[in-house]
């Protein structure tokens, strides 16, 4: 049937011919091979059907001759059958395949962070100027003792279970080597070291070159157990058991064999070219008791010296699940909201499974408090923390710290084109192709991450100072510092905050 498989390209390349000097930088820069040069006519041509709007060519064009715009050649407007929805039907009718997307859920669901406002002091309870007065943003993650205890001589017992010390309440969350590049990992590792925070290996193992950053590394154990062995767990500052991920709750991961080159193969400890399949469940975990077993097997293998984190996706029963995890022996619970990013996830799952992190966090913190076990664990939340204000709101809702990933990738140059799954990332992040990887210079990348985090830390202090709070400890779970705008009674109840004006 002629024409039925043709989609008019989503984007158009607009080239200002008066500015174009035929330098062909765009052709060399676009790994999707959109641009080409026709010497006979001395013309730059574009095959827009391959363009993903990553803006690489736009950014590198020396004469600013390029612009990528959304095409206005589209089907008749229909608020129910939107262009993307129709296009997805076409794609599946053609291929019979499951739709695969990347990065976080882009749909128009409510972002509760943007409906929560932060308090400040006026007249009474003066605010604090962070430039003049000491402010504490350091946090310790791990189990906290329920009460002070003294030995027979009356001295305080100071023995704590292992803790992670963070200079500020933000860490880089799990992104595996395989889903992101060597240079991206190096940038994250070096930035963590300089900042006194942690990055997370994801489930792809730890590259031998990065063992030196072990004290700032969280190593992950997922259902596929890629690259997991004793030295790997020994190398990390903490071990994270990945039960789920916000972008794809309830399903596993799948790194296609094409991305498993010699280096990734060595790091994941699997054969080259073979798919790396992490099934949905850990096949030895069917209960909290089974989870406890994995937690303790890791603790035994590492001599009880490292905190164990259990990471779960925010799903409907998250409060009950977290309550179970808090009794499993885990030291830290990481909860990933439904907007969390991913290198690849089935579109339908990414866009329709899970719940917002704001609601999950509030529900979990409340539940653990109600049950008197909040001190058993620290809470780390991720799944679209976009700014220092989101961090402050999360802490006031009850988090101990936040995980960020997309924001960190943006700092490294990601332009959110959402085609990580192709492995053709023009910014050198979500790719294993050497010629693309080298576009991300880790010397600069790590500095940009340090800049971003330093700036956030200043802002966190400023926001805290405004509330008259000088330590992150005093902000945690301090929901009186928050008000909602435009939220329903149910939303306010779950968030445990009052409406603005109340």
């Amino acid at each position: 049937m002629p024409g039925i498989n043709y989609f008019y390209p989503e984007f158009e390349v607009v080239r200002n011919d008066a500015r174009c000097i035929r330098c062909q930088v765009c052709a060399r820069q676009c790994a999707n091979e959109v641009h080409s040069y026709d010497p006979e006519r001395d013309l730059m041509l574009s095959d827009e059907s391959k363009c993903v709007n990553c803006q690489r060519c736009v950014s590198l064009c020396p004469t600013r001759a390029l612009k990528i715009v959304k095409s206005d050649c589209r089907l008749r407007e229909n608020a129910n059958w939107e262009g993307d929805t129709i296009r997805e039907v076409y794609k599946q009718a053609l291929s019979g395949g499951v739709l695969l997307s990347s990065m976080g859920n882009p749909k128009n669901y409510p972002v509760y962070w943007d409906k929560i406002l932060i308090n400040a002091s006026q007249v009474t309870n003066p605010s604090i100027d962070p430039l003049r007065e000491p402010m504490e943003t350091r946090v310790f993650l791990g189990k906290k003792p329920e009460k002070l205890e003294r030995d027979e001589n009356g001295n305080l017992k100071c023995e704590l279970t292992p803790q992670l010390e963070l200079s500020m309440p933000v860490m880089f969350s799990a992104m595996s080597y395989g889903s992101i590049s060597y240079n991206a990992h190096e940038s994250l590792a070096r930035a963590s070291k300089e900042l006194g925070i942690y990055y997370n290996t994801g489930e792809g193992g730890l590259h031998e070159d990065f063992y030196v950053y072990g004290p700032n590394t969280i190593v992950q154990v997922a259902s596929g157990r890629f690259g997991v062995h004793r030295d790997y767990m020994e190398a990390g500052a903490a071990v994270e058991i990945k039960m789920g991920q916000g972008a794809k709750p309830g399903i596993g991961g799948h790194l296609p064999g094409t991305k498993v080159g010699p280096d990734v193969s060595r790091t994941r400890m699997i054969p080259e070219g073979s798919d790396a399949i992490s099934p949905a469940p850990h096949h030895d975990i069917y209960s909290i008791e089974d989870l406890r077993q994995l937690v303790y097997s890791i603790k035994e293998a590492t001599g009880h010296k490292k905190p164990v984190i259990v990471k779960v996706a925010a799903v409907h029963n998250i409060a009950a699940i977290a309550s179970g995890i808090a009794r499993s022996g885990a030291d830290i619970i990481a909860i990933d909201g439904f907007r969390g990013g991913t290198g690849a996830a089935p579109t339908r799952i990414r866009d329709s499974v899970g719940i917002p992190i704001e609601l999950a966090l509030a529900a979990v913190d409340q539940r653990l408090r109600d049950e008197g076990i909040r001190g058993n664990v620290s809470l780390v939340v991720g799944g679209s923390i976009r700014s220092s204000a989101d961090v402050v709101k999360a802490i006031a809702l009850g988090a101990d710290a936040c995980y960020i990933a997309t924001a960190a990738l943006l700092a490294l140059g990601c332009h959110l084109c959402r085609t990580c799954q192709t492995g053709n990332c023009n910014w050198g992040i979500a790719t294993q192709k050497p010629e693309l990887v080298k576009r991300l210079n880790p010397d600069l990348g790590y500095k940009r991450l340090v800049n971003l985090m330093t700036a956030w830390n200043h802002e966190i202090k400023e926001l805290m100072g405004g509330m008259g709070i000088n330590s992150i400890e005093a902000l945690r779970g301090n929901r009186l510092m928050l008000r909602g705008v435009g939220l329903t009674d149910a939303e306010l109840r779950i968030l445990g905050i009052s409406h603005a004006g109340e």
Partner: protein, 239 residues
């Protein structure tokens, strides 16, 4: 050899005692303590009694011999070393192991050898003397699983073996006429060349548990291999 009487010891205490020394050790009166030898490096460990779940998890070179049965998750994510069980074992033995050898004299429970992997010179081997439960070798990505079907009349393996298999080899000492395999694998009678591959492990089995190599190899074996290392490749369309 250091001897520890474990009969009144909890797993935390036992783990601590084992980490305190690098000497070869014998445990007596073992009563279900979990996580024994987790991550243990090169040394010998002899266990009398029944070790609990996750024996030799992340094992990294130690040689363990158990005189008794063992429970679930033996050799979980094992890297190197050996585990010899003079008895039967519970579920998920050798989960994601990528190196070393496990020999079980008797039967294995559900999900034995799932996620087994291999890379470079690391080739894990799991030998089960009796029969294996359901889901044997699920998601197997490498290594070798050998089931001998000794001391049993029923089927050598229960339901759904090899689902999601995308690497490695599975040997069953049976013609497997009564076994249903999934579409993405090929099960065929083992050739002389295939049998060469498993010879050292069968001989080792006989060393550990007695028995006669010639009579073991004399019966027909079926070998199962995956059709593709990329079983899920076709399922997706970029969006």
């Amino acid at each position: 050899m250091l001897a520890i009487d474990t009969s009144n010891m909890d797993f935390l205490e036992l783990g601590k005692r084992l980490r305190e020394t690098e000497e070869d050790t014998v445990l007596r009166g073992c009563l279900g303590q979990r996580f024994i030898a987790a991550g243990m490096k090169r040394r010998k460990l002899e266990i009398h009694g029944i070790p609990g779940n996750a024996l030799g998890a992340y094992l990294d070179g130690a040689d363990i011999e158990v005189f008794g049965n063992a429970q679930d998750a033996v050799g979980d994510t094992m890297n190197a070393g050996s585990i010899v069980i003079h008895g039967s074992i519970g579920d998920t033995a050798g989960y994601a192991m990528r190196g070393g050898e496990i020999y079980v004299e008797g039967d294995a429970g559900y999900r034995a050898g799932i996620h087994m992997k291999e890379y470079h010179e690391h080739l894990p081997v799991l030998v089960i003397g009796g029969k294996a439960g359901s889901f044997l070798g699920e998601y197997q990505a490498g290594g070798m699983i050998i089931v001998l079907g000794l001391h049993t009349d029923g089927p050598i393996v229960s339901n759904y073996p090899c689902t999601g298999m995308h690497g490695g080899k599975l040997f069953l000492r049976s013609d497997c006429k009564d076994i249903l395999f999934p579409d993405q694998v090929t099960a065929r009678p083992a050739s002389a060349e295939d049998l060469k591959e498993i010879e050292p492990y069968l001989r080792q089995y006989c060393v550990h548990f007695g028995g006669d190599y010639a009579s073991l190899i004399g019966s027909p074996f079926t070998v199962v291999t995956p059709d593709s290392r990329n079983p899920y490749r076709q399922m997706y369309v970029a969006n």
